[in-house]
Amino acid sequence: MTEIVVISGKGGTGKTSIVASFSYLAGPKAVLADCDVDAADLHLLMQPDFNKGEDFYSGKRSKINPDVCNQCGRCVEICRFHAICATNSHYAVEPLDCEGCGYCSRVCPVNAVIMEDLQVGKWFISTTRLDSIMVHARLGIGTENSGKLVAQVKKEAKRIAEELNRDFVLVDGSPGIGCPVISSLAGSDFAVLITEPTLSGLHDLKRIIELVNQFHIPAGCIINKCDLNPQLSSEIEYLLNRRNISHIANISFDNVFTRAMVNGQTVFEIAHTNVQDILIESWKKIKRITKQKGK
């Protein structure tokens, strides 16, 4: 079983559209893991059935027990998020402002502050409309993705792939290089970097290349919308060459991605364009590279 993570550094480069395309090509052989939980959108294209769901807890939130509280006000003084408000000498935590640092519970002289586990959302195991299995999550209002949630989604996808003897785990990672991205990379076999020829595309690509190199994860890159700025595109190609990242493909700007998105479909289900041929070749190339690794 091979685990392939699709990440981009910069958001909006076409990551999810390309993950959905690869999933269309791999069919049920690939278990999908949507780890871009902050702005999850793979479900819009894959229409999972939300078959099995489980609550997910991450981080803490403080709560004041009014029966124990002696209204000393120390928690209000030390809370740098101004999350504790006092009305008519009744102290309460404003849940959206609390960051869960726990300082209030530490200074409370009568132990009136309880740190509760925070339910941030739910995670699901679904079957998609294309008959593949997808592990994904939905966050509650005002909560955020975390390395822990990514680890959970990936672990579950991996377990299912092993149990059902599937060939791939295909991970839709989140943008950036922070905690959720590091968590989505850990233990994976290959990273597909999706970029675009813009200054921020190039800048964020450099950062993500540094990260995959640090983790010794082999990687390849697809330059999407490559004709938007040919000069920057060739600069990116030069960078890939120098940093030992395989250049998988260039895709010219094509509104087939938008049309597919509006229809809630993958680009393969829309009228034929050469984008499809490029993506078929790219998927073949990725399979070839990961096979060489001996897996």
């Binding site: 981080g59 680890a151 590091i182 968590s183 850990a186 233990g187 990260l211 640090q214 983790f215």
Partner: protein, 112 residues
């Protein structure tokens, strides 16, 4: 010499954990005494954020000579770990602990 491993369980046959920050256990092998001890890291594995630096903190306390792991620590943890004189070897994520140790002895792992 003390050698630390990131592992999913606590014995020599345990699968290595490719993760650094969210590893379930840290195993410590003392090759002079020929003793294998372990530290439960599951609380860090469940941290919402900052799992890496918290695991790094534990290693700072143990202060082993060598760490053998899968992908290696992320940026923040790597910066912390530079402060102790510990060598990090990566690429052992798919071995069991015993195989990882043998691979290290044969010089097959990459220095981080």
């Amino acid at each position: 010499m003390k050698i630390a491993f990131t592992a999913e369980e606590t014995g020599w046959d345990s699968q290595m954990d490719p993760r650094f920050g969210r590893t379930a256990y840290i195993l410590i092998y003392d090759d002079v005494k020929d003793e294998l001890a372990f530290i439960d890291n599951r609380e860090n594995a469940n941290a919402a954020h900052g799992a890496g630096p918290q695991t790094a903190q534990k290693l700072l306390e143990i202060s082993p000579d060598i760490l053998i792991t899968g992908n290696g620590p992320g940026g923040n943890s790597a910066m912390l770990l530079k402060k102790i004189n510990m060598k990090i070897y990566t690429g052992a994520g798919e071995f069991c602990v015993k195989e990882a140790y043998q691979a290290y002895q044969k010089g097959e792992l990459k220095e981080f």
